[in-house]
Amino acid sequence: MKPRQQRMLAVGLVIVGVAIATGLTLQAMKDSMMFFVSVTEVAEGKYPADRNFRVGGLVKDGTVQREEGSLEMTFEVTDLRCDLGVSYSGVLPDLFREGQGVVAHGSIDENGIFVADEILAKHDENYMAPEVADSLADHVQDQTLGLQYGPEECPTGDS
């Protein structure tokens, strides 16, 4: 093989390599977008009781209940379509509040309650004055979780 051909071959191999790597990365990214599931998917019964997973949603207004003198608490998460009861015992992040987006890790118990062993909340990347935020709050929260469901009827979980 002539040196020139060798160089061409090398360049060709690098291009092929980069193309394959890009393809694999895209595949990897597609797969890793599934880090939490929506409440609707849980309601559809896709996640059996013995499996650990993460569920993401908004803390439903007026559902947070704490037990006096302990860290036990319950609340509901919603994706504006389905609701899911969550029980949790532990320290909550500072930003946890009603209407806030949270991701909970845990599994469903026999009563259909999601028993969380970890709750995460995160401030979003929107910066605005408080008065503006008030008027926009609901809308913004919808966006930050990427929720696409309208307020339709929730599919029954028994199916």
């Binding site: 977008m33 992040p93 930003l95 990347e125 008030d134």
Partner: protein, 248 residues
Amino acid sequence: MWKFIHQLASPPHFYRIAAKMIPWFMVPALLLIGYGTYAGLFLAPMDYQQGDAFRIIYVHVPSAYLSMMAYMVMAISAGIGLIWRIKLSHAVAAAAAPIGACFTFLALATGSIWGKPMWGTWWEWGDPRLTSELIMLFLYIGYMALRGAIDDTVKADKASAVLALVGAVNVPIIHFSVEWWSSLHQGPTLIKEGGPAMDPAMLYPLLAMILGFTLLFGAMLLRRVRTEVLFRERRTKWVNELVLSGGK
């Protein structure tokens, strides 16, 4: 145009021109940073979630941005130096590294201070940007360590250029991996796609700070390259004449 670039690449020429260029970077940089600091602290409203704590963004974001920018400047000029064998280009890469490392450190420090009120901890491994910024600092440290370990300037230039380029290929991968890793904690969609939404009264001071920091970086880079050039050319006639004439 080509002739101008060629002239600029000659060390004595660059040394003179850079001296004249520094004020053109420094003065607007100080004005913009002055405005940004005042407007950021007093004119911008409080954030609806984070209150006054968010104001550290005016130092944090420009530093983080510059840590990337400085790496890009370093890698690109190292690459140019390696391929076209331009010595000035290597001097730019050598000069950019410590500045970049400082901005990276500043970004880490401010990020950590920001983390304390927001997350309740100085360091949060779950934050992808904090973690990848840390790896960025490690990359700078590796680059500077390699440079320091090789005595011969020409060899140090070339070896560190290879490292800078390999690092540049890896920077996006590191970011992606850290984001994937910490997304386990946060869920990637919580972070909004399409850039942050921000109140204009908060945004303008931030833009001013970013531009100001960039110009400041330019001024510091020019100064450091001048020193670097002087050191590298210390055996040449023009530097000797310069020294004898008292730097005029």
